[in-house]
């Protein structure tokens, strides 16, 4: 491959390939579809957090105008895939397979679906749903995380790690220790989760679904409904944000399918905003304890990190809260432990930057605190403990340009103006502070297949079942293909979000560009080789070797005499086939995996101004730097980085979902009470990437930036707030009242 010429030919626009559809309203998201004869479904949800349904009074609702059916545990038809579980409902052998809707009368949390009303219009379904009355046998529910997180009998150990000596910080010359608290955070993408189920007879199912993984949803539905996978089609062409909430299919997906089967009509089930808090996961509330010890010179000698996070009683959810503490810095002695606390709540799930974002708040805050204690610059402390080898497996990294991120971040934010002593710098009567925090996330590559079709007009179409929740997968893929083919991006389309296309991965964990991009790159390389071979058979090209020919500008040409060329379209025609079709599947490279550690890294820098009277926090400057390898699509990668920072602003300053511990009900269950960042909360944001290709990971050299964009950001804000005010905040979100 011609590395210099990689990515789109220079000078070409790098706008999103689906931009026009998105700005004109033509982009069709799940609930925008309306198959013929479609009817509407609305959930009725539980008003207790634990117990059983004694009686469901359905007659009023059934008689309400326009109602076709009410689905509940009283009439739910058998779902083949649920049967092994239903036989033994008390067995917890169903981890990760989720709540099975309407299989019995048990209530696991407040807001659980207990019935589904299907009616001719959405309004009629809403009205009827309000008429369903449930009587319960209620049990005492536990939703108070703070109260029970210290009770060993309730905790489930979920992993321990030790290298060197445990609790070595206790012997250190200097150490810090502190507890950290993070609340439930909800993804709340602006698109409400929705599913439209369309049955064709008893054995063919088409589902429009908001999904980060159409293939995963397809196989789950096939398993549950006892269908051949090829008879289940899942379509997710446009996904209106997700941030993890659509990584798996939640109970509303099978519920829509069951209902559609019962009424023998297509059914659309769109969650309400309230239900977005109780049905599609959240970032679990967590408690952390972290202690770090160092020599007086600032060399780390011991890190101890313990964490407990909440999960539901019907599923165990775990994430990597303590993982980065094991390997982000060079430290001989590290011990970590992680436990989960099952309570009467819905199941959490990965939310952008998953556990690492929670853990980084503690780790990066603690390092900042240590730096003050050592009288050291926090960045210098990190550079002093820079890990050259992965501290857990002692492997070298495929690439690591974190130092470059530190340097550029300091320069762009104006780090030299940072006061060494907190609460000593003011501007316009406000307390000014600078802070930073770093992040790390895995940069692995998975399995994907991509089909390339080149038609006789020389236009290239690529197909993959992967979906795109917003970062710009199709844009990046088109750029990769344009780079390999050396043709304009305008001649290439990347079609996604449909299980009729070759299998693509679930979009998550910052792996899509790496995984699908590799398949795109390989399929285009194969296509290019075929085209060159076809050219060699063409008149005027005989005698020219493969090396003497190249692809470019929609032609194959002779390198020595560029006027000697033949168009791609003509080569397709010459092949005698209507079009050239190639399918290529690629997967991880085990050889690289066994020899190297693979990670993306970030460093976020923030300048804040705090009102000394009110405690109001204003973000004056934000700089996000990230080593995501080669940046395939600079415009969209920048947007992704900015988006991560905005998520970080929410985590740091605004977002907190509260559950009433008496009833188990969410107190913050609207976007009016659960505060996500708005325009007025977000200044302009600087981003910077080292943009160094990591060719050990994939042919593009790309590592992914989705998670590192957020990980470490909240700590950067908290550290800046400390620098401004001298107050160390260990509980998110940071509120003005904490600072006065």
């Amino acid at each position: 491959m011609d590395k210099e010429k990689f990515f789109t030919p220079s000078g070409e626009e790098d706008d999103r390939v689906d931009g026009i559809e998105k700005v004109t309203g033509r982009a069709k998201y799940t609930a925008d579809h309306k198959p013929e004869n479609m009817v509407y479904a609305v959930f009725v949800t539980s008003t207790i957090a634990r117990g059983a349904i004694k009686n469901l009074q359905l007659s009023d609702a059934k008689n309400a105008p326009g109602v076709l059916e009410i689905l509940s545990h009283l009439n739910c038809p058998p779902v083949p895939g649920y049967q092994p579980w239903a036989k033994d409902p008390n067995k917890k052998g169903f981890e990760w397979r989720g709540l099975k809707p309407f299989q019995n009368n048990l209530v696991w949390y407040y807001g659980q679906p207990i019935a589904l009303v299907v009616a001719l219009t959405w309004e009629k379904a809403v009205k009827a749903a309000a008429l369903v009355k449930a009587e319960y046998v209620a049990e005492v529910a536990e939703t108070d995380f703070e109260k029970f997180r210290t009770d060993p009998s309730r905790l489930k150990p979920s992993g321990e790690y030790k290298r060197g000596e445990a609790d070595a910080f206790k012997k250190a010359e200097v150490f810090v220790e502190r507890e950290y608290h993070t609340p439930i955070e909800t993804h709340n993408p602006i698109e409400l989760h929705a599913t439209i189920a369309v049955w064709d007879g008893d054995d063919k199912l088409t589902v429009y679904d908001k999904s980060q993984g159409p293939k995963g949803t397809q196989s789950e539905l096939a398993r549950n409904f006892g269908l051949d996978e090829k008879n289940v089609r899942v379509i997710s062409k446009f996904v209106g944000g997700a941030f993890g909430s659509a990584l798996r299919s939640w109970p509303h997906v099978p519920a829509a399918c069951i209902a559609a089967k019962m009424v023998k009509r297509p059914v659309r089930l769109q969650l309400t905003r309230r239900q977005m808090f109780t049905m599609v996961g959240y970032r679990p509330m967590a408690w952390q304890y972290i202690a770090i010890g160092a020599s007086r010179e600032g060399k780390l000698t011991g890190i101890t990190h313990h964490a407990v996070s909440i999960t539901s009683r019907y599923e165990d959810f775990r994430e990597g809260i303590v993982n980065a503490s094991q390997y982000l810095y060079d430290c001989p002695n590290v011990n970590t432990s992680y436990k989960i606390l099952p309570q009467d709540v819905n199941t959490p799930t990965w939310m952008r930057g998953p556990g690492e974002a929670t853990g980084a708040f503690a780790l990066e805050s603690a390092l900042d605190e240590l730096a003050y204690k050592l009288n050291m610059d926090p960045v210098e402390l990190r550079i002093k403990n820079y890990a050259e080898l992965h501290p857990v497996n002692k492997l070298p990294w495929t690439s690591k340009f974190l130092k470059e991120c530190y340097d550029k971040g300091r320069e762009l934010v104006g780090w030299s103006k940072r006061p060494a002593v907190p609460r000593t710098l003011t501007e316009d009567g406000k307390l000014i502070g600078y802070g930073m925090g770093g992040g790390v996330f895995g940069a692995s590559r998975g399995t994907a297949a991509v089909k390339a079709v080149l038609n006789s007009e020389g236009k290239l179409t690529l197909y993959s079942a992967v979906s795109d929740m917003g970062p710009g997968t199709a844009t990046a893929m088109v750029r990769i293909a344009a780079g390999v083919m050396q043709m304009p991006a305008s001649g290439i389309r990347f079609l996604l979000g449909d299980t009729e296309f070759p299998p693509g991965p679930t979009q998550g964990g910052s792996t899509t560009t790496s995984t699908v991009g590799t398949a795109v790159s390989m399929v285009c390389e194969t296509l290019k080789a075929q085209l060159i071979e076809l050219a060699q058979k063409s008149p005027g090209f005989s005698g020219l070797s493969t090396e003497e020919l190249a692809c470019g500008n929609e032609t194959v040409y002779a390198k020595k005499d560029e006027s000697k060329k033949i168009s791609l379209g003509a080569l397709v025609t010459a092949s005698g086939k209507p079009q050239l079709e190639i399918l290529k599947e690629t997967g991880p490279d085990p050889a690289v995996r066994s020899k190297y550690a693979m990670n993306s890294f970030s460093a976020h820098f923030v300048k804040v101004a705090v009102d000394p009277v009110t405690g109001a926090i204003e973000l004056k400057k934000i700089v996000c730097t990230g080593d995501g390898g080669k940046i395939v699509s600079p415009k969209t990668a920048r947007s992704q980085m900015i988006g991560g920072a905005v998520g970080g602003i929410g985590m740091a300053l605004t977002e907190e979902a509260l559950i009433d511990t008496q009833t188990g009900k969410y107190l913050t269950d609207t976007l009016g009470t659960y505060h996500v960042p708005r325009h007025r909360d977000v200044p302009f944001i600087d981003t910077w990437f080292p943009d160094k290709p990591d060719l050990l990971i994939n042919p593009m050299g790309s590592k992914g930036v989705g998670e590192i964009a957020l990980i470490g950001f909240a700590a950067a804000v908290a550290n800046a707030v400390y620098n401004a005010t001298g107050k160390r905040v260990n509980r998110l979100p940071i509120k003005p009242g904490m600072l006065v």
């Binding site: 706008d15 999103r16 689906d18 026009i20 700005v23 004109t24 309203g25 033509r26 982009a27 069709k28 998201y29 609930a31 925008d32 309306k34 013929e36 004869n37 009817v39 326009g66 001719l120 219009t121 959405w122 309004e123 009629k124 009205k127 993804h187 709340n188 993408p189 602006i190 698109e191 409400l192 446009f238 209106g240 944000g241 941030f243 769109q270 309400t272 905003r273 929740m469 917003g470 970062p471 415009k635 969209t636 947007s639 992704q640 900015i642 988006g643 920072a645 905005v646 609207t670 976007l671 009016g672 996500v676 960042p677 708005r678 325009h679 007025r680 977000v682 200044p683 302009f684 944001i685």
Partner: protein
Amino acid sequence: MKYLEVQLMHMEKHSPDCPGESRRNFIKQTTALTALTVVPSVLVKAGEQHEAIASFLEKTPLQLEVNGKTVQVLVDPGVSLLDMLREQLGLTGTKKGCDQGHCGACIVHVDGKRVNSCLSEAAEHNGKKITTIEGLANGDQLHPVQEAFIKHDAFQCGYCTPGQIMSAVACIRDGQANTPDEIREYMSDNICRCGAYPNIVAAILEAKKSGQKI
């Protein structure tokens, strides 16, 4: 009776939810139909007994201008302007993000003013002029704000974008796009969960400064 006939015609034309169904049910209830012509009290009683008549009688006929075209539509009581646009007129560019007036994804222009269409009853809009995201471009020629959104990558997933763009146009037209802070304040009713805010502000500033007619 003329009014009812007109409504019947409408029912056939404008019941995409269940084509033909209301009409069929209605015809089934021929006794009730006869009753309609007799006494109003009988009519009410018939309405109670026959769901089709009841739902038909409670519909409100509207005539409004949507994206420059005159549209006649029959709406159920309680149907929001948002759901009417999406479900009855098929204009799905306007999005439902919360149905509570918190997110701004549903913002459209009513007689030139921005409105949360989810909080607005469809039945109140007889005779009004509605512009949705679908009505902003001039054929294939994008509106300057749409162009600027693409140029500045002022979105990721695109779901809040129609609402952001409709608000942005109103922001410029209302003379509230002079500084980044002014724009941020005006636009704070529109949530972008992907966090494209800085790019949206940049796009609005550029569209404003371009001097083109917004």
